[in-house]
Amino acid sequence: MATHTLDTLGLKCPQPILKVAVKAKELQPGDMLEILADCSSFPKDIEAWCSKMGKTLLFCADEGGGKYKAQIQF
């Protein structure tokens, strides 16, 4: 089990999700992925992605200043 981080600050929809999907290919079951984003559609999009891909969204927190931090359990 490993924890990975992904910084998508400054990227517009759908790039943050695209980065998550590309990163997901190298993750193992049990790994954690922490994502930083400031795209306003990110909270809903990451929830939709996790639901569709069968991954567990542990949280998506509003960090203030338009930034979000999400954690996914693979």
Binding site: L11, K12, C13, P14, Q15, I17, L18, V20, A21, V22, A48, W49, K52, M53, G54
Partner: protein, 159 residues
């Protein structure tokens, strides 16, 4: 997961119709990959692009990359009107539009997640282009090939 769906799908059980042709690379039988796709609600998405301006080109790559990122099978088809956008260097020219994502990253994303980018074969003569004029990853195909490939697509767009 709905167990009745699993029973209907026959996952984990013997399948009578899994002939040798249904076995794909990586050793995963085709019927299982198809059923796994259905279980997770994956779709096939077909998008045509009929123009080579930024107004035509961004939407196919935004929607296409979002779909590919969510596990959908994506097929983009550029008609002769859209084909010039895929000539080497053209996406770079329209890459940066205020407020929009980076077009090249979307293109690479679609490619790296297994999406297909087709150009209509008619574009060659109609636009005076050669196959080698197109950027890496672009495939020149006929209408019949495209239609055969998307016959089970449930989501379609045209721009």
């Amino acid at each position: 997961m709905d167990l009745s769906d699993q029973d209907e799908a026959g996952l984990g059980g013997e399948s009578k119709d899994s002939g040798p042709e249904s076995v794909v690379a990586q050793g995963i039988p085709m019927y299982k990959t198809l059923l796994l796709k259905r279980r997770y609600g994956m779709a096939k998405v077909a998008i045509t692009c009929n123009g080579a301006e930024a107004g035509n080109v961004f939407s196919p790559f935004i929607l296409g990359s979002a779909a590919a990122a969510s596990g959908d099978e994506v097929v983009l088809f550029f008609t002769p009107g859209g084909a010039p956008a895929l000539v080497k260097g053209k996406l770079e020219e329209m890459r940066e539009v205020k407020g929009l994502p980076d077009l090249l990253e979307l293109y690479d994303g679609v490619q790296s997640l297994g999406g297909k980018v087709y150009v209509c074969e008619l574009a060659l003569e109609a636009k005076g282009l050669m196959e080698e004029d197109f950027r890496e990853g672009v495939e020149v195909v006929g209408a019949t090939t495209f239609l055969n490939e998307i016959k089970d697509a449930t989501i379609t767009f045209s721009f």
